[in-house]
């Protein structure tokens, strides 16, 4: 319990070497050790989705994963997806539609939305609502988020809004 473990991983394209306690979860590792505070902690028990990140291409709740489990893995956070430009169209759609208010859920929401759009090029509103149901938002009532994701999906297909 008190013995640190050595991990090596890739975070947003940068190699990271760290000594961590086995009990440290990935969310706390990202926020407190790497100062990647765009990953938010809302419930710490895997329900709210605010801490959603990508590990080896799959979205995960970083509060439910231990940092040591990411040894040799590739982790992507909202900072990485923003800087690479991968979700700039989604972010623009969110901005134009005011699909965020306090913004606390937004990094996780964008992660989940991008995950959906990578799997389904043209999701209907029901599928968008379903896919984002693991990400709580207390401000917007969701409709603006659904609209923004729908808009981004259509734009990726070259469909005029």
């Amino acid at each position: 319990m008190t013995l640190h473990m050595q991990i090596t991983l890739d975070v947003n394209g940068e190699r990271v070497d760290a000594q961590v306690l086995p009990r440290l979860n990935l969310a706390d590792f990202l926020r407190e050790h790497l100062q990647l505070t765009g990953t938010h902690v809302g419930c710490e028990h895997g329900v709210c989705g605010a801490c959603t990140v990508r590990v080896d291409g799959e979205i995960v709740r970083s509060c439910l994963m231990l940092a040591v489990q990411t040894h040799n893995a590739s982790v992507e956070t909202i900072e990485g997806l923003s800087d690479s430009g991968e979700i700039s169209d989604l972010q623009a759609a969110f901005r134009d539609r005011n699909a965020l208010q306090c913004g606390f859920c937004t990094p996780g929401m964008l992660m989940a939305a991008q995950d959906l759009l990578r799997r389904h090029a043209e999701p209907d509103r029901e599928r968008i609502r379903e896919h984002l149901s693991g990400n709580y938002c207390r401000c917007t009532g969701y409709q603006a988020i659904i609209d923004a994701v729908e808009t981004a999906a259509r734009q990726r297909l070259g469909i005029k809004p």
């Binding site: 938010h40 956070t77 965020l100 306090c102 606390f104 693991g134 009532g141 409709q143 988020i145 659904i146």
Partner: protein, 797 residues
């Protein structure tokens, strides 16, 4: 939009070319939040910062007989373990009362409990350590001995003679009582053709801000100054209260509020653990960080709406409502919350019941009682959902009794749109409402007749759909009548300072705050419009008591109406000052000039004369070239508070269309409509999103959200898996329409919009469920409308 009383003269300063008013421009601060580059308090770290974890009572009511922290204090990384008695050396207790709520009483509350705990979750010791994980480890080995006391949990028996009195010095468990008797209620009921009565039950629920409450308190002993970084809606209120109880002057306390992860009224209060964090910083002379975890949030964030309300309505056969009567009861936990008190919600219920309607006959009583549960206080739309659900539930029951359509009975009783100004039986003054215009618009938007036909057709196939209508009024733009008159140092005025910087951009400091509503955007829109400056050249600073004018903040739907008007007036002064300087530079008169597109232009034809950038250069760096006697003032400050009306009431109507599965008791929301009137709309997109977000919080209360306590005062669902909040998959699309009746008290004409959605959503859903269940003869007047509640009403379980 439907404008029913526009005042073009009063709006001329905003109705300019390139005006941002009425436009859906994006908020300026969104990129930061979308890229994970915001700064929430939970993200903050300061040099020498330590973390506090509170050890909390597992009992609802108990004596603390011993605390042994010796083992915890020896743990590596532990800095201190502090009890309530030790902390009392640096912070004084408080009593949550206000003088205008006559008779309201409460007991002294300490930052950390001393000798006794009064609810499950009350802090009994603070563990401060180098990391939160270490503090949590240490908290586990602090040994606290309790002697359990009988817990008062049921509000309905809290006043019985056999029930223990929680605070013996107060004499009983009654915190507050208010009675109102207007008109001739007994006569009205006697003359009614029908009288309908029902008990309305509201589940205790809470705000569930996605970022929990968080504070970093930094006492710098060398400066004798405390800096509090806190996600709060009211920085100056926090400054005042922290100074008061730590024995400091307000100038020794700075409150900084960066990004806030949701507020909804949860973060407009000051909690005991936050006070303890300020005090710990002073005691330990270093920055202390407190971030509630989710279980703590459920056990300590204020709860709301735990009301049982008996309602009566008298109606004539022609649909005329002749009287309303209510007897309301609410349990607020063991203390009245500080500093806004826990009597406001009940007081609002008394004020608001029957508010949209013509009848003058209204009798009300409310009683507010203590109990050993978490504290209750003001949460989004304070009192409105209770009052609206009771009123609109009764109106629907009356309509059903006399066989009248729910829309028709409202048409016959809503105050006519040309009947203003007027006052309600409880004394609320209405400047201009638009109930009928709103109803007409709603009926059209939802195709009421078409839905009724669809409903009838589907019933033949045993598909049970319902339509629910709820008219409402909403308190916005509160004056000093809300808190100030009761002795609270909670400002009802706000201030805005605007200045032209050395490159012709505008720096704007405002005392309203931002938690995502769009305060920054609406301020920039107003200032940019008045000044003729593009929005990207307006920078808005808020959330810092050192760097903004003094003011109330953002709560009670007041930011746009009050802070927006201050911004408008400040910008007007700066505009005049700029034009005076420009006239001196250009050797013309200010009346010949205007500002457009970041430049001084000829008023007559808009032709450019001098860029603001160039004007600023001359003023700041070559004032020697200005004519003698000219002293430019490129900064202006104005404050505003409503004086004419204590509150700017808004109104609206909501409709719900849903389907009830009579076999499972599940409710599927199909569509929701809102038409509301918040006066001048500064940014239609932001208003619509406030409405939608508010509606969904109301839908949560209607269907899912409830803090479930057992008889011993244990909160049994204090986590996000068991306490249900609305998810995207189960929420409907919400159509929003507007009627526009600007308040004439301000030049801006804006009223609030932040709580309208929450005010009426549950009432619309409850009425729709009853409408759907009509073939079964079941009537439900309880929320949340869980499958269990519905199947019980249907006699199926």
């Amino acid at each position: 939009m439907t404008a029913i009383s526009a005042n073009p003269d009063a709006l001329s300063v905003l109705d300019r070319p390139n005006s941002y008013i009425g436009k859906a421009v994006p908020r300026p601060n969104l990129d930061r939040l979308m890229q994970g580059r915001g700064l929430y308090v939970s993200d903050m770290e300061l040099p020498r910062m330590a973390h506090v974890v509170f050890l909390r009572s597992p009992h609802a009511h108990a004596k603390i007989t011993a605390i042994d922290a010796s083992a915890a204090r020896r743990m590596k990384g532990v800095i201190a373990v502090v009890t309530g008695r030790e902390l009392a050396s640096v912070i004084t207790p408080w009593v949550g009362v206000l003088t205008h709520l006559k008779g309201l009483k409460s007991a002294p509350q300490h930052a950390i409990a001393i000798d006794r705990v009064c609810w499950q979750g009350e802090a009994v010791a603070a563990v401060v350590a180098a990391s939160r994980a270490v503090a949590e480890d240490a908290a586990e080995i602090v040994a606290v001995e309790y002697e359990e006391l009988e817990a008062v949990t049921d509000m309905r028996t809290a006043l019985d003679s056999g029930t223990p009195v929680i605070h013996p010095a107060l004499g009983d468990n009654l915190a507050f009582e208010r009675k109102l008797d207007a008109g001739a209620v007994d006569f009205a009921f006697a003359s009614s053709d029908e009288v309908v009565e029902a008990d309305f039950i509201f589940g205790r629920h809470t705000g569930v801000t996605l970022e929990p409450r968080a504070v970093v308190a930094d006492w710098n002993v060398a400066e004798a100054r405390l800096t509090i970084y806190q996600g709060t809606q009211a920085p100056h209120m926090v400054q005042n209260i922290a100074a008061l109880h730590l024995g400091l002057r307000e100038m020794q306390v700075r409150v900084v509020c960066k990004d806030v992860g949701g507020s909804f009224g949860i973060k407009v209060h000051i909690y005991a653990d936050e006070m303890a964090t300020y005090a710990l910083s002073k005691l330990l002379r270093r920055p202390i960080k407190f971030v509630a975890d989710r279980v703590e949030s459920f056990n300590t964030d204020i709860h709301a709406r735990d009301h049982c309300c008996r309602g009566r309505i008298g109606v004539k056969r022609d649909g005329t409502i002749v009287a309303f009567e209510i007897d309301d009861l609410t349990g607020i936990g063991p203390y009245s919350m500080y500093p806004r008190t826990s009597a406001i919600e009940a007081n609002q219920v008394v004020n608001l019941v029957g508010g949209p309607y013509l009848t003058r006959n209204y009798r009300a009583r409310t009683r507010v009682v203590f109990q050993n549960k978490n504290v209750m206080c003001q949460y989004r739309a304070v009192g409105h959902p209770v009052a609206c659900s009771v009123t609109e539930g009764l109106v629907d029951l009356a309509a059903q009794k006399i066989g009248m359509d729910p829309v028709e009975i409202r048409r016959r009783n809503l105050i006519p749109d040309d009947g203003y100004p007027c006052a309600s039986p409880s004394g609320l003054r209405f400047e201009q409402l638009s109930h009928h215009a709103a109803m007409r618009k709603l009926i059209k938007m939802m195709d009421y007749d078409g839905l009724r036909a669809e409903q009838a057709a589907l019933r033949k196939n045993n598909i049970y759909r319902g339509i629910g209508i709820a008219s409402f009024i909403e308190v916005t733009n509160p004056s000093a009548a809300f808190y100030g008159v009761g002795g609270a140092r909670i400002s009802s005025q706000d201030g805005v300072a605007v200045r032209l910087d050395a490159q012709g951009s505008v720096i704007c400091q405002t005392s309203i705050t931002e938690q995502g509503q769009g305060s920054e955007s609406l301020t920039a829109q107003i200032v940019g419009s008045v000044l003729g400056v593009s929005m990207e050249r307006v920078r808005v600073i808020l959330g810092d008591t050192d760097n903004t004018p003094y003011g109330g903040g953002t709560w009670a739907s007041r930011g746009a109406g009050i802070g927006g008007e201050a911004a408008l007036q400040a910008a007007k002064v700066l505009r005049k000052n700029i034009l005076d300087v420009a006239a001196a530079i250009l050797q013309t008169s200010a009346a010949e000039l205007d500002i457009a597109d970041n430049a001084i232009v000829n008023d007559r034809d808009g032709s450019p004369r001098i860029d603001l950038n160039e004007l600023s250069r001359i003023v700041y760096f070559r004032p020697d070239t200005l004519p003698p006697g000219i002293q430019p003032e490129l900064m202006a400050t104005r404050h505003f508070v409503p004086r004419e009306y204590p509150f700017a009431f808004t109104n609206g109507v909501q409709a719900s269309w849903l389907e009830v599965d009579a076999d499972t008791g599940f409710v599927k929301l199909l569509r929701h409509w809102v038409v509301e009137d918040c006066g001048t709309i500064i940014n239609p997109q932001l208003v619509d999103e406030q409405i939608r977000g508010g509606v969904v919080q109301g839908l949560g209360a209607a269907l899912f959200e409830k803090c479930i306590y057992d008889e011993r005062g244990q909160l049994t669902n204090a986590n996000m898996a068991d306490y249900l909040v609305p998810m995207s998959g189960e929420m409907p699309d919400i159509d929003v329409g507007h009627v526009v009746s600007p308040t004439l008290e301000t030049e801006l004409g804006a009223k609030g919009a932040g709580e309208a959605g929450t005010a009426g959503a549950a009432a619309a859903v409850a009425n729709a469920v009853n409408d759907a269940l009509r073939p079964f003869g079941a009537i439900i007047t309880e929320i949340p409308l869980t499958p269990q509640v519905i199947l019980t009403a249907l006699g199926r379980i």
